[in-house]
Symmetry: C2
Subunit: 442 residues, 2 copies
C-alpha cells in the first residue's frame, strides 16, 4: 500500500536548506518556451491580417470545431437570456444567489469622480468613467466555468461597461447543463455577446477586432499558457488585467482545525490542474502528520484523484515553522493567490499579511466559498505577483482622467513655479506658454 | 520667405477623406522594429545573468560613461538631501511649491482598507497596502527632469512606499543646476536611492535585481522606445504602470482665446521631441488661420524651433469642425494624453469627454501648468491608450487583497450555492471542501 501514499515533501523552516527548497518548489521563473511564443506571434499576426477566416482556422485546428462562419459561434444577448430563463430551479437559485452576492460586494468598490475647489476658484479632481468595451476570457475546454463568467462579468457590469464581449473555448450545447449555466451566467453579468472561441486566437480577435468581433479596450480573465502569452503580447494596444499562472493556495493552521477540512481545502486547489500548488504551514508538527494522514485517507474517494495526486506531488508542500508569526513571514515571501488563516485569532495574523490575492479568515471560511459566492472576484494574482497585482475589481473596468481648471488668479499663482522649473529643463516654450497667461492680468 | 512657413495640414471634418487622413496622421500602429526587440532581449538576458557587470558595460556603450563599479553610480539618500539643502533660493521655492501641490492632490487619491459586516457576523472587504519596493524611471539624456521625479515619486510616497529606487540616465554633476534639482526633487519625493543609469539596462536591473540594485515590485515612468519595449518584456515578473509613446496635446478652442496663447501651447507640446503631436480643433475656420499666423510669427523666437518645426510638420494638425460637440467626438476618438478645453463653457464640454489622460479647462489653464505644479501627475496615457490606461496615481502604488471571513452561520448559508456550482464545473473537491464545514453545525 505504501506506493499509493502521496509523496509530498514536509519541509522545516529550521532546516539550513529551507529557503532554497522553498524557492525551488515555488518555481517562480517565468520562462516561456520560445515555441509557444512563436506559435502565439503567428496566431496574432494571422488574426490581425485575416480576421474571421484565421479565427475559424485555428478553432478548427486546436478546438476541433468546424464552423462555416464566425457568426455561427456568436451567442447573442437574446440567446443568453433564454438560457437563463430556462435554467432548472436549483441551478437558477444557486447562480442568482452567487451573482447577487458578487454584485453586492463589487458595488462597494465602485469609485466615482471627485473634485475640490481652491480658494481662488480653481478646481482639481478626477473624472472616473467605465471603459467602453471590454473582453472577458472565460477559461474552459474540458469543463465550463459559470463562476468565472460571473467573477469577470459582474465587476465590469458594476463599473457600468456597456459593451462586454465574452469568449469561451467550449462549444455551446443547449442539451448540456454546464453549457446552459455559462450562458445564463453571461446573461446575469450583462454580457453583450458571447463567442465560443478560445486560445490566442480569441485574445487576438478581441485585441484587433475582426469582421464579426468588435475590438475591445481591455481584456481580462485567466487562461492557459497560450492565452497568457497572447495577453502579454497585445498589452499596450489594449489593456489587460494581469499575467496569470497556475492557481495556488497557502493554508496557515495553528493545529486546531479538523485535519479533514484542511486536506479537502488542499485538494480543492490541487484538483484544478497538475501545476496547481497547495501549501500548508503550521507550527504544530503533529498536526502536519494528521493532515497528511487525512490526505492519504481521503484521496482515493476523490473524483479527480489523478490530477490531485500529480499536483500535490509536483508542487505541494507541508511546512513546519517555529511560530504563526514565522508562518506569515513565509507566506508573505510566497505571496499566495489564496491564503487561509485557519487559526483561533485570524485578525491578529491578518494585520501582518502583506502579499496575498485573497485572505480567508477563520476555520469556517473554506477557500471554495470564495471561488463561487462569498462576493470578491476569484480572479486573483498568482505566482507571487500579489506583490504588485491586485484582486480583479471594479477599478479594473474604470478609467481615470485628471481634471485641472485654473481660475485666472489660480493660474497666476502657478506661473512662476512652472516657468522656473521649465527653464531648468530647457523647455522654454513650456515656460512661455504659462507666462502668456499673465499678459491679461498684469 | 514662404519656405520658412510651417507646413502643417489643415483638415476639415466635412471632407470625405477626413477619417482616413486623421488616422493616418495619428499613426497608432504599435509596430516595433525587430532590431529594437532583439537588442532589448539581449540586454535583459545579459543583466539577468551578469548583473552589475552587464549594466556597467551597457552604460559605457550607450551613455558613454565609464564607472569602475555600479556603486559609483548610486546617489545615496544623504547625497540627495544635501542637494536639496544646497539648492539656490529660487529653485528651492519653485521645487517645494510644486512638490506641495502635487502632494496635496495625491493625498486625495489615497485609498484605505474597507470592510463591512453582514448580519450573521461574516466580514467582507479589502485590505489596501502600499507596494513594498518600487522603481521609478525618470527619463533624461539631453536634459534633466526634476518635474518627472516629483510626478513619479510623490504618488509612491503618498501611497506609503518605503523603498523607492529612481534611475536617471544622466550623470550626476554637482556643478550643474539641473542635476542638483533632480537630486533635490528625489529627496522631496522620498526616494531611497537614485542610480544614474538608463535605457533597457536600468529596467532590467530594477526588474531582476543585481549585486548593487535591489529587485523592485513595480516599475513606473516613461522612456524612449528601448525603455518601453523593456518594460513590456518584464511585465508579469514585475508590475509596470503603462506603455507610453510620444507626448501629445489636443486643444479644442471656440475661437475666443488669444491665438498666441494657443500657438504657444502647441509649441510647448511640440518642443518635447520630433514625434510629439500637437492638434488644434475649432469650429471657427478664421481662428485656425489666426493661430497659424501666430505659429509662423512666434516660431523664429523659439529656442527649440528645429524640434518644434519637425514635430508640427511630422504630426501636427489643425482641424476645422462643424461644432464644439463634433470637436469632442473627434477628441474622444483620438483619446489624447492632454486635452485643453479652451472655450467659454468648458464644464459642459467636459461632460462629453470620454477618453483623455488629463483635461485642462478654460482659457487660463495652460497645459504647461499641469506639467509642473497644478497637482495631478504628468505621467499620462499616450497614443490613444487613455481608452484603458489612467493618469498615474497613488492607486498605482497600492495593492489590494480581498478579505473573506465567514462566521459558522455565514459559511452555512453559502455552502449549498458553492457546492451546486462546483459540481456543475466538475470540481467535486471544491464542493466537499465547502460541505465539510457543515459537519459541526448539523
Amino acid at each position: 500500500m505504501k506506493n499509493n501514499l502521496l509523496d509530498i515533501p514536509v519541509l522545516s523552516s529550521a532546516d539550513s536548506h529551507f529557503t532554497r527548497q522553498l524557492e525551488g518548489r515555488l518555481d517562480r521563473r517565468m520562462l516561456v518556451d520560445s515555441k509557444v511564443t512563436n506559435a502565439v506571434a503567428e496566431i496574432l499576426a494571422a488574426v490581425r491580417s485575416r480576421g474571421d477566416a484565421a479565427v475559424l482556422e485555428y478553432t478548427k485546428k486546436f478546438d476541433h470545431r468546424d464552423a462555416g462562419s464566425l457568426k455561427d459561434l456568436v451567442i447573442s444577448r437574446d440567446q443568453l437570456q433564454m438560457a437563463l430563463d430556462r435554467l432548472p430551479e436549483s441551478d437558477s437559485v444557486a447562480l442568482r444567489h452567487a451573482a447577487e452576492r458578487i454584485r453586492a460586494y463589487h458595488e462597494k468598490q465602485k469609485q466615482s469622480s471627485w473634485h475640490y475647489q481652491e480658494a481662488d476658484g480653481s478646481v482639481y479632481g478626477q473624472k472616473i468613467l467605465p471603459l467602453e468595451k471590454v473582453g472577458i476570457y472565460v477559461p474552459g475546454g474540458k469543463a465550463s466555468y459559470p463562476s468565472s463568467m460571473l467573477m469577470l462579468g459582474i465587476p465590469a457590469q458594476v463599473a457600468g461597461v456597456q459593451n462586454i464581449t465574452a469568449t469561451v473555448p467550449t462549444a455551446f450545447d443547449p442539451d448540456n447543463a454546464g453549457s446552459n449555466l455559462v450562458c445564463a451566467a453571461a446573461a446575469l453579468a450583462g454580457v453583450s455577446q458571447m463567442i465560443t472561441i478560445g486560445g490566442a486566437q480569441a485574445i487576438a480577435a478581441m485585441a484587433y477586432g475582426t469582421e464579426t468581433i468588435q475590438r475591445v479596450d481591455k481584456i481580462t480573465g485567466p487562461g492557459n499558457i497560450y492565452v497568457t502569452v497572447a495577453k502579454r503580447m497585445v498589452f499596450g494596444e489594449v489593456g489587460i488585467d494581469m499575467v496569470a499562472g497556475p492557481s495556488e493556495l497557502t493554508v496557515i493552521c495553528d493545529g486546531g482545525t479538523n485535519p479533514d477540512w484542511i486536506a479537502m481545502d488542499l485538494f480543492s486547489q490541487a484538483e484544478h490542474d497538475e501545476q496547481a500548488q497547495s501549501i500548508l504551514i503550521s507550527p504544530d508538527r503533529k498536526y502536519l502528520e494528521l493532515v497528511l494522514a487525512s490526505i492519504n485517507k481521503l484521496l482515493p474517494a476523490m473524483e479527480r484523484q489523478e490530477i490531485i495526486r500529480a499536483s500535490m506531488e509536483n508542487r505541494g508542500m507541508l511546512i513546519h515553522v517555529a511560530s504563526l508569526d514565522e508562518a506569515v513571514q513565509i507566506s508573505n515571501s510566497i505571496a499566495p493567490e489564496h491564503l487561509e488563516l485557519s487559526v483561533a485569532d485570524p485578525e491578529s495574523l491578518l494585520a501582518k499579511v502583506e502579499n496575498a490575492g485573497a485572505v480567508f479568515l477563520g476555520r469556517f471560511t473554506a477557500e471554495a466559498l470564495g471561488d463561487y459566492c462569498a462576493g470578491p472576484s476569484h480572479v486573483l494574482p498568482t505566482s507571487g505577483t500579489a506583490r504588485f497585482f491586485s484582486a480583479l475589481g471594479v477599478y479594473d473596468f474604470q478609467k481615470r482622467s485628471s481634471i485641472i481648471s485654473c481660475s485666472p488668479v489660480g493660474a497666476h499663482r502657478l506661473v512662476r513655479t512652472a516657468a522656473t522649473l521649465a527653464r531648468r529643463e530647457s523647455l522654454t516654450a513650456h515656460a512661455k506658454s504659462a507666462e502668456y497667461r499673465l499678459q491679461d492680468l498684469d
